[in-house]
Amino acid sequence: MSTMIELDHLTKRFGALVAVDDISMSVSRGEVLGFLGPNGAGKSTTMKIVAGFLEPTSGIAKICGHDVTVDPVAVKRRIGYLPEGAPTYGDMTPISYLGFIAEIRGFDGAEKRRRVDMSVERLGLERVLRQPIETLSKGYKRRVGFAQAILHDPEVLIMDEPTDGLDPNQKRLVRSLIHEMAAEKAIVISTHILEEVDAVCNRVVMIAGGRLLADGTPASLRARAKDHNALLLRVVPDKVEAARVKISAIDGVSTVETVTRRDGAVILRVPAGTNAATVVAALGAENIAVEELMNEVGMLDDVFYDITAHAAHRENPYA
């Protein structure tokens, strides 16, 4: 794997506020990195630095080996960047806007037309090519911004909340585009929609208060959830209490919780680490039939809350 993005002790201060606090990480080709964090965590600031829009206070950001502060133009050539809200020139039409982007990216004549056509086709912009961008719907505006970011087939793609404010179908389109491009690029997307991480990312980085708090695959982060891999059982309603007593008696089981599900069914939750077969056998011995047996999957939401809320707690001396 080749490293495409390299952040080395990156720090950005705005006056007294530390927006990005000593972040070091690297992203390789083939990775789709989900940048997670609450609002104001420093996601956008980090991305703006990588894209060359802001300069870091200290630390180094390198894209394909080029330092953003030393050679910003070389970096910008290799990056496709979709800023938050996908700002584009509202008085231009998509066709003239993409033409402008293609020219500034160094494409001329037939190659320019080919690039523009490719982007237009990928994002399905054919119908709105000659309407001023400001008259387009939010979804189309976002797609124009997206088309602009991928027009030069960049090695690194940075997108700040690419699906924010889109309807489910549009989200699906954007996600499938990210999927398509994932293999040959390094992609970073920021989001606070956790389902998105599962949908497109193969790596998750959580930051809060400008600090990097967690880094791993979505599965490894999910494993951090308190109830991850717990056993969930449903037995016939009148045997719930008997079953609870029976399971509690098994060696190594500390507590058995009963949870009422939304559909009214009562579920028993056995902490992770207990063998499902042992539990079923123990209940079978008492003639308690297990009607449903599931493994609880940890919620990213919970992990997100645990990690970022603790960070917020640490930040606030009065909390």
Partner: protein
């Protein structure tokens, strides 16, 4: 150079994509004509020259040029497109120069469209066309200096109204610096050297010199260096805000 040209093209397109260009040109032509005819008494003077026309250019520019310049950077900052523009593979200098040249070219077009004045005066009499050409060149350079000031100030804020007011004020000070009214105030207490410096910084002093028909190199150099200095400041402002 290629990038500058691409920026100029995009900016110019966007002038004409909105009513801005047409409103500006119509107002410019109407006001410059009205000032020359009614206040400058272009007809009743019975002299074949365009002095009453060019005399009002500094004052006209004072009102209209900051209106053109205010949007150059403030609007990009407000709408967020600056983040798009400045993450494209272009240098800050290219962006600043491209935007400036587009605005300057546009102003030049408005100025060129005043050609009926030149035709009229040639039909009515026998003017010194060399003086008129010199005045047009001087006027264009003065407009460039106003624009460079406005562009730099526009980069300081994302509020176009603030950009307009501050640019108009700065341009006003540079224009006024040459008036006897202002110079007399300084003569009361300031050394001659300072008074001369202030007078030499005035748009009016240099522009009046040009409209007399003598394009002196120093007047053109003056306006050219005003443009260069303010655009340099513009680049610095854009870069500093990136690091802030």
């Amino acid at each position: 150079m290629r990038n500058v040209w691409i920026i100029i093209k995009r900016e110019t397109l966007s002038y004409f994509a909105t009513p801005l260009a047409y409103v500006f040109i119509v107002i410019f032509l109407a006001l410059s004509g009205a000032l020359a005819f009614f206040i400058g008494r272009f007809m009743s003077r019975e002299q074949a020259d365009l002095i009453p026309f060019f005399d009002y250019h500094p004052w006209l520019y004072l009102l209209l040029i900051p209106a053109i310049a205010m949007r150059l950077w403030a609007e990009e900052r407000k709408t967020g497109t600056i983040e798009n523009l400045m993450t494209l593979p272009i240098s800050t200098v290219e962006a600043v120069v491209g935007k400036f040249l587009a605005a300057w070219g546009f102003t030049g077009l408005a100025l060129a469209l005043t050609f009926p004045m030149w035709i009229s005066v040639n039909v009515l009499g026998d003017p010194d066309n060399g003086v008129i050409l010199a005045s047009y060149i001087g006027s264009l350079f003065m407009a460039g200096a106003f624009l460079a000031i406005g562009s730099c100030i526009s980069a300081l804020t994302k509020n176009q109204v603030i950009a307009f007011i501050i640019s108009a004020t700065v341009c006003f000070l540079f224009t006024m610096a040459g008036l006897e009214l202002v110079l007399n105030f300084f003569r009361l207490w300031a050394p001659d050297l300072l008074v001369d410096t202030i007078a030499s910084l005035s748009f009016l002093t240099h522009f009046t010199a040009v409209t007399k028909g003598v394009i002196e190199l120093r007047d053109i150099i003056y306006f050219a260096s005003m443009i260069a200095v303010w655009l340099l400041a513009n680049v610095v402002v854009v870069d500093v805000r990136k690091a802030a």
